[in-house]
């Protein structure tokens, strides 16, 4: 029995875990549920030794566990299949499964034993895969099965699956859950982290619900819960949220951004959307539905193969982000602020002013004072907490980093903004401030396309909500801000879509 009690983990500016508790018994499937940012990933990383907790204790069968690194967790028999693939693409299936302890004779790999082990582990899962196939040639679903096989090879007693079906089709997911049941029946404990409630209810025995880093349910039998009860537990705060000022959108206005029957090289088909000035159009969908890719295609970072994009009623051909910015005043706040949004080693002022150097420059030179004034202006407006303007962006907390990432587009004077997952990994208070900020931008007349996987956020902010599923728009809803009603409608829409797909 794996027990984690009152775990605490803080990052600069965020308390990711604030008394999380988890109890998992052998021979059961345990669901770990929670909204985006509730602390699920952090909990998984603490349990697998990637992070060290600041407080609380973890015990396995009553013995205290001190996990100082991933190896400790493995030694204790706790395995994990992460969302991001951790296989070596050039290596074969068999080799990846045995990589921890390659069977060898005097340093030479014993391939026969390696293959046998791979067959044994794959056999436990009743999966047919060629042990000699390079992992690079496998589908994401097959890769996932290889990772599970790898965990089995390590004789793990506890297996954590982090969003295992995020990139799988319906059939593949069904197969995976059959595997999960088999693992349970063999006496192992499986912890399942998932967004997809329907799937969870079909397979899990017990559950833990995290909200803002705290357990609001831990270890109870799933049988005592209805789906809507679980949703209420997860999103409890949706009702506490500050009421945002109502805005009036002129429905007659020419759309600032309009997509008509757009198809992309990424695989989007028949995407039609309209965002009017002063309006927030929510683009909701599950991870992998293709929302960020659509945004990038609009910006010229992906190829649009059919349909038209119009900006303020005129057809727009956007080839580069620079062009989107200068000719169409269209900006994109990326979801991946660390890799795509910020220059972590550069000063905050430069991070904000990077989009406007062209405008500030005199004879090609950027006057420091003008840059600083402009940057500090936005530091003040967005309440970005910095100790000195020369501070580098990497030293800021997540929320402040996100504000810097947004500030650079506001500085550029955009009138259409695509904001992608603006509050992922941000603590609750900053999140609320961010929501007010975004609503304020719309009130100032900006057209906003809000991409979010955070349902309460979408319902709280958007004027209309477009639901994206599987690279298509499943429907567009007028938002009446009645959360229980809207959320049910949206979730039903997504499910109808995936079911239609499976049928």
């Amino acid at each position: 029995m794996l027990v984690a009690e009152n775990l605490i983990k803080t990052f600069p500016g965020v308390r990711a875990l604030d008394g999380a508790t988890l109890r998992v018994s052998p021979g059961s499937v345990h669901a770990l549920l929670g909204e985006n940012g509730a602390g699920k990933s952090t909990l998984v990383k603490v349990l697998t030794g990637v992070y060290q907790p600041d407080g609380g204790r973890i015990t396995l069968d009553g013995d205290d566990l001190r996990l100082t690194g991933p190896m400790d967790a493995q030694a204790a028999g706790i395995g994990v299949v992460h969302q991001e693939r951790n296989l070596i693409p050039a290596f074969s299936v068999a080799e990846n499964i045995s990589l921890h302890h390659l069977p060898h004779r005097r340093g030479v790999v014993d391939r026969a034993r390696m293959r046998a082990e791979a067959r044994r582990c794959l056999g436990l899962l009743e999966v047919e895969l060629d042990p000699d196939a390079p992992v690079a040639t496998l589908s994401p679903a097959q890769g996932q099965l290889v990772e599970i096989a790898k965990a089995l090879s390590l004789e793990n007693r506890v297996l954590l699956l982090d969003e295992p079906t995020a990139s799988l089709t319906g059939d593949e997911a069904d197969h995976l859950y059959a595997v999960v049941r088999r693992l349970r029946d063999s006496g192992r404990a499986v912890v399942l982290v998932s967004h997809k409630l329907e799937e969870v209810f079909a397979v899990a025995d017990t559950l833990t619900v995290l909200r803002d880093g705290r357990s609001v349910a831990s270890g109870e039998a799933l049988a005592g819960f209805s789906q809507s009860r679980v949703v209420d537990l997860m999103v409890g705060r949706a009702y506490e949220q500050v009421e945002l000022a109502r805005r009036e959108v002129n429905a007659e206005a020419v759309p600032a951004l309009r997509l008509a029957d757009v198809a992309t090289a990424h695989g989007h088909r028949d995407v039609s959307l309209e965002v009017r000035p002063g309006e927030i159009l929510g683009l909701y969908g599950l991870v992998g539905a293709g929302r960020s890719e659509l945004a990038k295609a609009i910006l010229g970072l992906g190829r649009i193969t059919a349909g038209t994009v119009e900006v303020h009623g005129k057809p727009a051909r956007i080839a580069t982000v620079g062009e989107a910015l200068r000719r169409y005043r269209l900006g994109y706040v990326t979801e991946d602020r660390k890799d795509e949004g910020l220059f972590l080693d550069q000063q905050v002022t430069r991070n904000i002013a990077v989009t406007v150097w062209r405008r500030l420059a005199r004879l090609g030179l950027v006057p420091d004072r003008a840059e600083r004034r402009l940057a500090l202006d936005f530091v003040g407006k967005l309440d970005i907490r910095i100790s000195t303007p020369r501070q580098v962006a990497g030293q800021l907390s997540g929320g402040n980093q996100q504000k810097v990432s947004l500030a650079k587009w506001l500085a550029a004077d955009c009138d259409i903004l695509i904001v992608d997952e603006p509050t992922v990994g941000i603590d609750v208070r900053t999140k609320a401030a961010f929501h007010e900020l975004i609503a304020g931008l719309a009130a100032d007349g900006l057209a906003l396309l809000l991409i979010s996987s955070d349902l309460p956020e979408t319902v709280a902010l958007a004027d209309r909500i477009a639901v994206m599923s599987d690279l298509r728009i499943a429907g567009v809803l007028d938002n009446d801000h009645d959360y229980p009603r809207m959320s049910r409608q949206i979730i039903r829409m997504i499910h109808a879509e995936t079911h239609a797909e499976a049928a």
């Binding site: 982000v321 990326t334 220059f343 972590l344 080693d345 430069r350 989009t355 030179l365």
Partner: protein, 353 residues
């Protein structure tokens, strides 16, 4: 590039630790200045001739000028996190064009210089173009280019000249070689004993400093080096910046070739043959990393000065050229390790505060 850094990045992406302010003594530039002073004192104590103006200081300044400009050429692409392995050969091609324009067309100093620099810039731009269009590693592209140019240069010199060097020099090159400002007097007031090539290097350093510190172009190059995805998503034309940085690298390499030709008194095929190592030494000693996104022009000046002081000093102490290498390498390793140690100590101290 190394496994270690990649891993470090994955870790730091998760938890953004607050790096403490680095104290002044952990600044590599300060260490270089102290080292410079110590070395000059040491050489002077061992050989008082080290401070002899005519014998040592004047040629030393000329050498520093050349290798400073060489370092700046490399610095241009280090800003992107790239390398220019063909820096010496771009200098040689550029010098060839200068010699050719003068020899065949009878052009004067300024025209030859300008056309040579343009040739260097074009070569750099070609490298940048290949890198930005194909996405192939800059190391590979410039290495291949270096190979190709080594051959081409000798062939060109053989077909146009006696095979080694151009027989004539534009008017004024001799003055650049032998004169110092002390040779030019206004009434009784004469200039200091600074060779005429020095202002070229100083101007180059100032311009490069200005470029990275104040200009939009330079800043956008640094941003491209810091995070190319974020730069692209901020509307920076990253491909153009890559081409431009490489073009400037080639152009500055051309200037280095010109200064060396002036010092040697000939546009010869051997120009640039010894540029590669010093081109990295000066910026790296000065604290510029290979990762891109940050450069130090002042550090490059100090790095070039330090290397040339060591060369000159050991030369005076009658060390053989190849033995010099040993000490230069040791100094580089020691400087880098100390730099690393300083950082670690500074971080630990900061963490305790």
């Amino acid at each position: 590039m190394s496994v270690a850094t990649e891993e470090g990045r994955t870790e730091s992406a998760e938890t953004v630790r607050k790096p403490p302010r680095i104290p002044w003594w952990a600044n590599p530039r300060v260490g270089l200045v102290i080292l410079l002073i110590l070395l000059i004192a040491l050489f002077t104590a061992l050989r008082p001739a080290f401070l002899d103006t005519k014998l040592t200081l004047v040629p030393l300044q000329s050498d520093i000028s050349v290798y400073l400009v060489v370092g700046l050429a490399q610095l241009m692409v280090l800003s992107l996190g790239h390398m220019n392995m063909a820096v010496g050969r771009m200098a040689a091609m550029s010098a060839f064009v200068m010699g050719l324009v003068h020899d065949q067309l009878g052009a004067g100093l300024v025209v030859s210089l300008l056309l040579g620099l343009i040739a260097g810039g074009l070569l750099g731009a070609l490298a940048g173009l290949i890198i930005s269009r194909t996405g192939v590693n800059s190391f590979v592209v410039t290495l291949a280019m270096d190979f190709a140019l080594v051959g081409l240069i000798t062939i060109l010199y053989t077909s146009v000249t006696d095979g080694v060097a151009f027989p004539t020099l534009p008017a004024g090159m001799d003055a650049l070689r032998f004169d110092t400002f002390a040779d030019y007097c206004l009434g009784d007031v004469c200039g200091p004993r600074i060779p005429l090539v020095v202002p070229f290097a100083v101007a180059a350093a100032l311009l490069v400093g200005l470029l990275f510190r104040f200009s939009r172009l330079g800043r956008e190059m640094l941003m491209t080096g810091a995070n190319i995805k974020a730069a692209e998503l901020s509307g920076i034309p990253t491909k153009n910046r890559i081409v431009q940085a490489h073009a400037l690298s080639g152009l500055i390499a051309g200037l280095a070739g010109f200064l060396l030709a002036a010092n040697n008194g000939a546009f010869s095929a051997s120009i640039g043959g010894e540029f590669l190592l010093p081109s990295f030494l000066a910026p790296v000693l000065g604290g510029t990393l290979l990762a891109g996104g940050a450069v130090s022009v002042l550090g490059t000046v100090l790095g070039a000065t330090l290397t040339q002081v060591i060369y000159k000093g050991l030369n005076l102490l009658q060390f053989q050229l190849d033995q010099l290498q040993l000490y230069i390498g040791l100094v580089l390793l020691a400087a880098l390790s100390l730099d690393r140690a300083r950082h670690v100590i500074a971080e630990r101290r900061g963490a305790k505060l």
